[in-house]
Assembly symmetry: C2
Homo-oligomer: 144 residues x 2
């Protein structure tokens, strides 16, 4: 596959990720990740080192939503090599959970490997910064 093909394949993967998130489709989401994907999520723990426990957590989290989960991205950058790639973006997540409205901007880094000819997510890092004013509060109110 040429460079353009790889780039398109990764963009398609990320579109499918947004679709699966919106539809709270944990099974499709699982198929996008390598088995040994390392994830650094908004919630503890510091890391998970396999896709199955990550998706198990996502599935539980999906059950807390009343509406589709809308994810809009901004400032997307995609770096594609022969079989290693990564992307960076700001992500705007919106919707309604059982305990209220969600409207939060975060930062997202994805790492990809081409495995058996197919691009998979091998790493996901999502975060917000925190305030250095002594409160140590997560900065969930920032906008780009």
């Amino acid at each position: 596959m040429n460079d353009t093909g790889d780039e398109k394949a990764i963009r398609d993967l990320m579109s499918e990720l947004k679709r699966a998130l919106r539809d709270r489709d944990a099974e499709s989401l699982r198929g996008l990740y390598a088995d040994d994907a390392v994830t650094y999520d908004l919630a503890p723990p510091l890391q998970l080192s396999a896709a199955d426990p990550y998706i198990a957590g996502v599935r539980k989290w999906f059950s807390d939503w009343r509406t589709p989960i809308e994810m809009e991205t901004r400032d997307e950058r995609l770096h594609v090599g022969d079989d290693v790639a990564f992307s960076t973006s700001l992500s705007h997540m919106r919707g309604t959970k059982v305990d209220g409205e969600v409207d939060i901007w975060s930062r997202a880094t994805f790492g990809f490997r081409k495995i058996g000819g197919e691009w998979k997510i091998v790493h996901e890092h999502t975060s917000v910064p925190f305030y250095m004013d002594g409160s140590f509060k997560a900065s969930i109110d920032l906008k780009p």
Copy 2:
């Protein structure tokens, strides 16, 4: 340069980053980053899109330390392609700032590009998760 050479070059870069951090050597640190590096840091804002303002912030932060900044990493994974690479690790930062001791584990993702034959950091994402208990406190007390 062969695969092993690229991997070694990136590991050397990361060793030099730790050295520069320990010695609070902002000038050497600056040399490791591409001019248009995108950084997602522990502190706001959500992102910076150039190395100069990032290093300016680091330089100011260095002045708040009384001791060398020790950075130990764990669970390091390095994915190296032809001219794109990324790494993931947990980072343990320790030392003494003017306002007290620091002892914190965070997650770090670095993205690299080979530019003019030399590997540079084009992306850095450092974070801690936050507690989903309604406090929205940054999880600065986690250990791997």
